[in-house]
Structures are given as C-alpha cells and as structure tokens.
C-alpha cells in the first residue's frame, strides 16, 4: 500500500511512514497535537486517549496501519464541539481539574460514557473512566462533573 489514509479531527489526512508506528507518536510528532499525552506507554493510564470510529482508544496501543480508513478525534478536534463546552463547564464548576495531565483523556472518556448512555449511573461512569488515571483530585469530582454534564447537556447526547 502506498499511503495510510484516515480522518483526523474532521480532515482527511495521509501518513506514509512505518505502519507499526504508534498512533500516539504520529499525533504528537507529525501532527503536533500535544493534547494527546504520553503517560505509561502500555495502555494503563489513559492519558493518550483518543476516539477512533466512535470508540475510546489508548493511542499508545494502536499501530498506524490499523487506523487506515478510520476516523480519529483528539481533544483538539473535540474542543470545538457543543458537547465539549458542556463538559468543560461541568469540570470547571466542580473543580475537577488540578494539574490537567489526565484531563484531555478524561474528557474524551467522559464523552464516550455519555455517547453510549446519556443517563449513566454512577457505576457506569466509574467503569467508563476506569482506564483513565488521575493522581491529583481523586475521582469524585470528575464523576460529579460527568453527572452534571449529563443533566446540563440534555439532548446533546
């Protein structure tokens, strides 16, 4: 194959490097999307979370070859949506953010929780963000933020 083609934050893009390169590295190094963080390198922390074809993904565990034909959304692409605005306000209202390193991934995980179920139970929220580690604020504030986003964003999800 000559080129890997995929949609990135709504725009058609191409990549012609090694197909085994991690999506995380391509997003940061080639596309300068620095909201995608590298935490653990082994799929445990969720700091590198992106959304691929509507599903939450650890971009450190994704080879470029596997995204050929896929749609990838990073926090930079998501930040221009109405849904983001609701989550942004909800996170701010309850001070769910401290250092911020986990937050791009956490927000995308929140989006995936609400996209799957607009009225999630607390247990569903906690399961939905269980692969995204935060070492600052603890998870209660984040769970509150997602709960209040579900209420405030009626009809958006």
């Amino acid at each position: 194959m000559n080129t890997i083609t995929f949609t990135l934050n709504g725009k058609a893009e191409t990549y012609d490097g090694p197909s085994g390169t991690r999506l995380l590295d391509v997003l940061r190094d080639n596309f300068k999307l620095l909201g995608v963080k590298c935490g653990c390198n082994e799929g445990e922390c969720g700091a590198c979370s992106v959304i691929i074809d509507g599903k939450l993904a650890n971009s450190c565990m994704v080879a470029m070859g596997s995204v050929h034909g896929s749609t990838v959304v990073t926090i930079e692409g998501y930040a221009v949506t109405e849904r983001y605005a609701v989550l942004d306000k909800a996170y701010a209202d309850v001070s769910a953010v401290q250092c911020g390193y986990c937050i791009p991934g956490m927000v995308l995980a929140s989006e995936c929780v609400l996209a799957r179920n607009p009225h999630p139970t607390e247990e569903e929220i906690r399961d939905g963000i269980s692969g995204n580690l935060c070492r600052c604020t603890g998870y209660n504030a984040i769970v509150h933020a997602i709960t209040s986003a579900a209420e405030e964003g009626k009809g958006l999800w």
Binding site: T3, D16, P18, G43, L56, A109
Partner: protein
C-alpha cells in the same frame, strides 16, 4: 510505500499469511506494549469474515477479530464469556483487544482463554491450503507456545452450546480495573433431574497454560448431589495435589490458596 499488509477479505489474509513472514495484528493491545515500528504486521482488525458472531446447531462461533466490547454487546455471547471479558482492563482496551489476539498471545493469564478452556471450546484454524478444528487444550502447547503453523490464522473460537447455563466465574486481581489476573477461575455445573450431567473447571494464571483437569472433574459426572457431597473431599484432594502454581509477582502458596478457596466456593454455590 507503507510496510505491512492490509487484507480486505479472509481469503486475501490467508494468502498474505502464506507468502510473508508477518505478525498477525488483532487489536494491538498486547503487541504494541513492545512496539517495534519496523515490524511487518498483517492487519486483521478490518477483515469482515473475522468480525462475525454467529451460531450453528452445535456452537456459538466467535470471529477472531471480534473485540471484547463487541462480545459484551452481542446477544449470542454466552453469559460466562460476557462476565469474563467485561472485567478485562478498561473500556479503551476492551474496545480494541480481540479474542484472536488474547488466544494468539499464548498467555495462561488471558481472561477469555479461561472461558474457552472451561467450555471445552474449539479453535478454528485456517490456511490458504485448508482448515482444521483443534480443541483449545491441544492448541496450547506450553507457555507462549501454540500449535499454530506459520501459514495459519486463528479464524474463530467455537463454544459448544451445551452446559452454558449454570456457571461460576471469579477473577482475583490487585484492583477492580486495569488488573492482570492473579488467579482466575471458571466452573460449569450442569445438573438435570438431581444428577450432575457435567462438571468442568478451569484455573487461569496458575500454570504455564490454563489448567483444565477434566479427569478430576469427571469424578462428579453422573452422580447425584448427595453422592457428589460424599465425593467432595476426594475431589478437592485430587485438585490439591494436582495444582502446582508458578511463582511470579505473587507466591505459589497464595495462588494455591486462592485456587482451592474458589473451587470450594464453586462447589458450595452449586449446592455440593
């Protein structure tokens, strides 16, 4: 020119597998931990024939490229398999990790492999020259060693539809999420008219391969509950002697204790 192979169909995947020395890529969640950018992968994540979940008169048929999330969402997935895969890692891993990859990795800690062992499932292997069906117990030869020919691919896992009704499953890990099993255990107890039709158990993360000691389990086959209660001490003793756990991050003694506790709890909850 981009390296790697991108089959659009199973036929093409098998042809590429025969022609090139490429690593089959399911979801990447195991492979990418030791990411080698120059590796030649055979990308199977979008091969439609490998994404099917179906049934025939004998089996529930799970395509090798089905992800754990797809299994959780599908009505044909047996409850025991749903329960096991829903406890794997976290959503992002479950969205991409596949059964083919979980089996193909050859680990005795693979949580889906445990379920294929306890249900005596069959691995469907195909190559461009033909196909074969292999009981999962024969597919695992040793630690990270599989009876997979260089030109073969795992295409399906076939779960027998018998004895899927009453099950027991417990995963013991260090945390609720993102935990590798320290011990995982599954048991099936098929009782009809007061008689045990079949009892089967499997222990994961204990040995080089998943332990499925069907010769011991068969002690209980055909027995009434009362007879099984009498046999219980001998049954437990046989397992006590047969389980010789590996030592890793946790001790063999701990693994052994957990195995025996889970086995006893399985019998207790089955009324034996």
């Amino acid at each position: 020119m981009v390296n790697g192979y991108f089959p659009q169909s199973l036929k093409e995947a098998l042809e590429l597998r025969a022609m090139y020395d490429a690593v089959p890529y399911g979801g990447g969640t195991d492979l990418m931990i030791n990411a080698d950018p120059d590796a030649n992968y055979l990308f199977l994540n979008k091969v439609p024939e490998l994404k099917q979940i179906a049934e025939d008169s004998q089996y529930i048929r799970i395509g090798a490229s089905c992800t754990f999330t797809e299994l959780m969402d599908h009505p044909l997935t047996p409850a025991i398999l749903k329960e096991a895969v829903s406890q794997i890692a976290a959503p992002a891993i479950r969205n991409f990790g596949t059964v083919g990859g979980n089996i193909g990795n050859g680990s005795a800690k693979a949580d889906s492999a445990l379920i294929f062992f306890v249900t005596d499932s069959v691995v469907h292997l195909m190559s461009s020259k033909g196909e074969r069906l292999l009981p999962i117990k024969e597919f695992y030869v040793g630690r990270k060693q599989l009876a997979l020919a260089p030109d073969e691919l795992i295409t399906e896992l076939l779960i027998p539809k018998t004895a899927l009704c009453s099950y027991y499953y417990k995963k013991v890990g260090a945390r609720k999420a993102q935990a590798i099993s320290r011990v995982c255990f599954a048991g099936l107890m098929d009782i009809a008219d007061g008689k045990i039709i079949k009892c089967s158990t499997a222990f994961g993360a204990v040995s080089e391969v998943v332990l499925r000691l069907d010769d011991i389990d068969s002690m209980l086959a055909g027995k009434t509950i009362e007879e099984a209660k009498i046999l219980k001490p001998a049954y437990l003793k046989a397992f006590e002697q047969a389980i010789v756990p590996i030592t890793g991050r946790i001790s063999a003694e701990y693994r052994k204790d957990v195995c025996m506790n889970l086995l006893k709890d399985f019998l207790d909850t089955s009324g034996i």
